[in-house]
Amino acid sequence: MTARSLPPSVIATLPGGHYTDENIFALEQARVFETMWFCVAHASDLGKPGAFRTVQVGRESVLVTRARDGSIRAFLNVCRHRGARIRTEESGEVKRSFQCPYHAWTYDLDGRLIAAPNLTKMPDIDRVEYGLINVHVREWIGYVWVCLADEPPSFEADVIAEATHRLGDERSIENYDIAGLRVGRRIVYDVKANWKLIVENFMECYHCATIHPELTEVLPEFADGYAAQSFVGHGAEFGEEIRGFTVDGSEGVDRIPGIAEDQDRRYYAITIKPQVFVNLVPDHVILHRMFPLAADRTIVECDWLFVGDVVDAGRDLGPSVELFHRVNAQDFEACERCQPAMNSRAYAKGGVLVPSEHHIGAFHDWVLDRLGAGSGQGQVKRL
């Protein structure tokens, strides 16, 4: 296979097969989503002991709950008896235990096996060893992160450092006190596109002038085509006539009290690989969590977080939410427009990245590197 010879202005993307092939997707599930820190839920989704959510992490269904002592626990959603799925609903509340509906094997909120028919006749069954399988849990900025690896990577290096790196220093993200904000609105998008198309879209602004009229009105420098992620410590500035990060440029709501003066009237964007986007503006934070379900399907849960008083007072969040909701819809429509062509012979060797998109090449190299990680079972190479 000869390498493509490309004009010097451009570099190659991944070949189309990387966006459609189910074997490559399975490798990505195993070597990206099941090994890295994966953001699953907001802490308020688990409001009290017994509240739970089930989420897809790679190939696994994970049951996330709040235990009796208030801590958050996460387990593989698989009964240790004969493999039934413990809970099938996306969210809910149990009183004090998780009971498998097949044979009533019952686990407490720490995952310990506490009851099963005839269990006392089988004292050799260890209640912890045959309890639900725990996965690692961390909480940060009000969100719950899990890692399915036996030995998770450093949360500080892989997750927290991303924010620090992008904003230029540790203090900057702390100013937003994201853990202290309240989810004012959540919208879930079911996107018929490969997760990488969504990451690539978020990483560049070459498309902004074309598909985001409202966003480029609020952030005129996006019309130039350089994304906020390209620069360290750089927040895109609001247009002169713009009073807030809203669909019509109107004022927005109460500013987040702790932000610095130089963070006012600015938009910052952080990508936390593999599946989180954090967007920061003076009066709210927008956080995306992606759940790749198939090579051509990704669920995106998008939260808009505001100061607690603003939400409690019932203030109108509409104009604030509507701006990034439109951005999301516009972006996902573009991704869905690309997905069908990933199988075309026209895209067999992939496409090209223009200079303002070259940093996406680093993302592709990163993905390939992770797919090659682990067993030397056939490295996936860029054509």
Binding site: T106, I114, A115, P117, L119
Partner: protein, 115 residues
């Protein structure tokens, strides 16, 4: 009189299972009372000492039938038959159980298993 455990080993809110045949569960309620009943739920073979103690009631961990510890009677289905109650005595900081002479109400699967 069968010794169960030292009183110190059974704080309020806790249960102790006596491994006799059929097994007996001793409960120390939050109010400071001690009760003993058959450990095996009368509905299905589950251990009540693994269940949820609330006030004077014990809830079976399998199907949530709740029994009154004072009378042994079920408060909620699916259990229908009562547990036997046994006397509890504390002597020299040790908890003792005097088992009832009544026949027990084992759940299906444990009945006539002596065949």
């Amino acid at each position: 009189m069968i010794p169960a455990c030292p009183l110190a080993a059974l704080p309020p809110g806790e249960a102790h299972r006596l491994d006799v045949d059929p097994p007996i569960a001793v409960f120390h309620t939050e109010d400071g009372e001690l009760y003993a009943v058959d450990d095996t739920c009368t509905h299905q073979d589950a251990s009540l000492s693994d269940g949820w103690l609330e006030g004077c009631e014990i809830e079976c961990p399998l199907h949530s039938s709740s029994f009154d510890l004072r009378t042994g009677r079920p408060n909620s289905p699916p259990a229908k038959l009562p547990l036997r109650t046994h006397r509890v005595v504390v002597e020299d900081d040790t908890v003792y159980v005097i088992p009832s002479c009544e026949p027990s109400n084992p759940p299906p699967g444990l009945r006539a298993s002596t065949a």
